[in-house]
């Protein structure tokens, strides 16, 4: 049962706004008094996922379920999908165009960061249909 259920639309056409959702989640977790490590891990992982949706998928939807003993982040897009998830998980592998690299992204660290910062992560993707990423963070007791 979720203590707090948050829904966000992540617009795909405005790079300036990318990160608004994860910034809001960070603020809410702070207000709810979660421990700093859980707040940072959740917001960074969600930020990386949000950026990915903007860069690669023309935006998507993010939902966050905040419970006392876990935080569940679900990112869903209807973008081109990931051809090889295992390859995409490799540090340094990126399909980002040069325009994105000039903005400071596209280093190929997004998915590895998301996996490192969260306690559980699952990706499912279908080419030409979209990608779903679910991550779970367990705050320290």
């Amino acid at each position: 049962m979720s203590m707090l259920h948050l829904n966000y639309d992540v617009p795909g056409d405005d790079f300036t706004r990318a990160g608004e959702a994860s910034g809001d989640v960070k603020k809410k977790l702070k207000q709810l008094g979660y421990e700093p490590d859980a707040i940072r891990r959740t917001s960074i992982a969600m930020y990386e996922g949000e950026i990915n949706m903007v860069i690669h998928a023309n935006g998507g939807k993010a939902t966050v379920d905040i419970e006392p003993d876990k935080i569940v982040i679900l990112l869903v897009d209807q973008g081109p999908g990931i051809a090889d998830v295992e390859q995409a998980m490799q540090a340094g592998f990126s399909t980002a165009p040069d325009t994105i690299r000039s903005l400071g992204f596209g280093a190929g660290m997004g998915l590895p960061n998301m996996k490192n910062y969260t306690d559980e992560m699952e990706i499912s993707s279908v080419l030409d249909e979209g990608t779903t990423v679910q991550m779970v963070v367990y705050p320290k007791k």
Partner: protein, 116 residues
Amino acid sequence: MKVKDIVGILKAEVLFEGNMEEEVVTACGSDMMSDVLAFVKDQSVLLTGLMNPQVIRTAEMMDMHCVIFVRGKQSDDTVISLAKEKNITILATPYRMFTACGLLYDAGLRGGCDID
């Protein structure tokens, strides 16, 4: 050192004044935001040559207190207004990245990595 001390060390212009009394101990210099997100632990200061709003969002995610734009970059209104919203101090230094990092290292800031 405090954020306000950096202004003198780097001959910096203050583009937005957050909490200048904030104590800072570690710093990171990078133009790749995903690297900052991956490798930075408890860094309070970010030096970068990238002038775009995602730098501020990255700094916010990492709980950084101060962003320093190197190489005399022209300021961008979107960046400054986002920094105001997040209360992150923004400085601009004419020094290039290597020198700016070196000056701060010389003054006592460290990288916060285990190999230090």
